[in-house]
Symmetry: C2
Amino acid sequence: MNDNLLMKITQKDKKAIARALTEIENNTKLSEKIIDEISSSFGKSYRIGITGPPGAGKSTLTNALVKKLAEMNFFVGVIAVDPTSPFTGGALLGDRIRMSEIGTHPNVFIRSMASRGSLGGLTRFASEAGDVFDYAGFDFTIYETVGVGQSELDIANSVDTTVVVLVPESGDSIQAMKAGLMEIGDIFVMNKSDRAGADQAIASLQFILSFREHDEKSWLPPIIKAIALEYKGIDELYNKILEHKEFLIKNDLLEFRRKQRFKARIKELISTQLKKELWTLERNKLLDEKIKLIFEKQLSLSTVVNQLVDSFRNNN
Amino acid sequence: MNDNLLMKITQKDKKAIARALTEIENNTKLSEKIIDEISSSFGKSYRIGITGPPGAGKSTLTNALVKKLAEMNFFVGVIAVDPTSPFTGGALLGDRIRMSEIGTHPNVFIRSMASRGSLGGLTRFASEAGDVFDYAGFDFTIYETVGVGQSELDIANSVDTTVVVLVPESGDSIQAMKAGLMEIGDIFVMNKSDRAGADQAIASLQFILSFREHDEKSWLPPIIKAIALEYKGIDELYNKILEHKEFLIKNDLLEFRRKQRFKARIKELISTQLKKELWTLERNKLLDEKIKLIFEKQLSLSTVVNQLVDSFRNNN
């Protein structure tokens, strides 16, 4: 069953890929086996992150780029990260509807993912989903993230090229700057560039980017004018992504960064495992007792921290 | 020196408070002593989070609320969280300028904090800063967070009352919903409510909130119409905050939640300490060797995770 599933993934079977992603998302027993098998063969799929403030048209741009890639006969996996409401249960549709059209293309696999407030879980799932696409032999994995915030920074750390989508509306650039988007972007797209103020917005963006430290060996982020709804600027975006990939390869950065990311991921898994082993029912009770003593001022916070760490290390 | 600093904090000395916050932010040796001393005396300062999408007027509202509280003779500490650009170095001013006026009031202490992309650090600093205000005997601690994202969810988990600020502009409510703001709000403020579409926006907000699970014992989040720039709706906001506080006390939730938060914080400190002890130079090298073996398919990912965890637990 397991081997069969893995084999089907290498045949790019959509049902098998969907099944693997669900196992991983739900952190099942089987998912551990899947991850063990696929995690050593990463590096085939080029990972692109598409991010930006709400309303910038990220979904439309993702849709257009995926269409372009599919037309070029590439295989593309898309992970759309959608913060969702715990009390309604499901992911909100909205922008997702537009993507379903391209989702039926044989070369394209799209998965919407609810972030459920668990940031660590999101980042972990995002990289493991990328590994599944890698194992399947997909050419590209695209992460589309809604909103601005820490999750974008984390996903930017797990992709090869980060595309930041902005719109000409005044204030957007400063908001984006606040959100730290300026320093994560490898490529900037000024979407809806037929609107008033587009050239001004590009000029101010160029000004902001000029503060980024750079030398002759560093990548200068291009700014692309686009109207994603009309597929304008998509060819240029595609070319710039390939250019950025070449740049990374030429400077030995692609492999290097991927190894760094893999190492960070293992460290994260080890932390999770440590926490699982640490917080037994017994040690949870012990902590409750110690907290009482802190409130009674009989123990200090740092003493309790050290006592718990020591108890874990000694009582194997 | 240390005792003197602590004493001055209890006298609400602004310089001493500023010094303590800087020590904590920079994670100095002295900060550990400060935290040990202050962490057992929490619970005096009522913690309020003010959050919402960019452009909703959070700073203006915070400013107005702080002014109201100061007029009522309360002491108020404000932590304004400002995601900032690593490459420009400093925090962006913008909205902050407006707040400096109220910052000179003797009852008010304002601290701007750059989040620097380190989410854990931000959450930790936020609660420790609250402890400093607690120790100083401040009546209120207000957290103002810019943007929408995971940091808001985390800060919502460390306050007693969360105020979500929205504006009538179409699309905002759905964006806020996506960002998970709907389920963290204890009180909603429709700011700039003189703009077109305010009543419609309130109606749709009410509709969304009606999906929130509730029984007769749960809090129904009120929606307040405000124009923060003109100080309209601020008295009502103030009253609703006190009402929510009463509700939490009556249902034994205030103490209970604070204890839960304290426990979560200690667990976080223990995790940090474990990581510090785990990742010695030696074990980092060991991990590099193991990663090579993973790529050569001689070891699986999960085996490496378990080996590292075991090496830590056995080789005390």
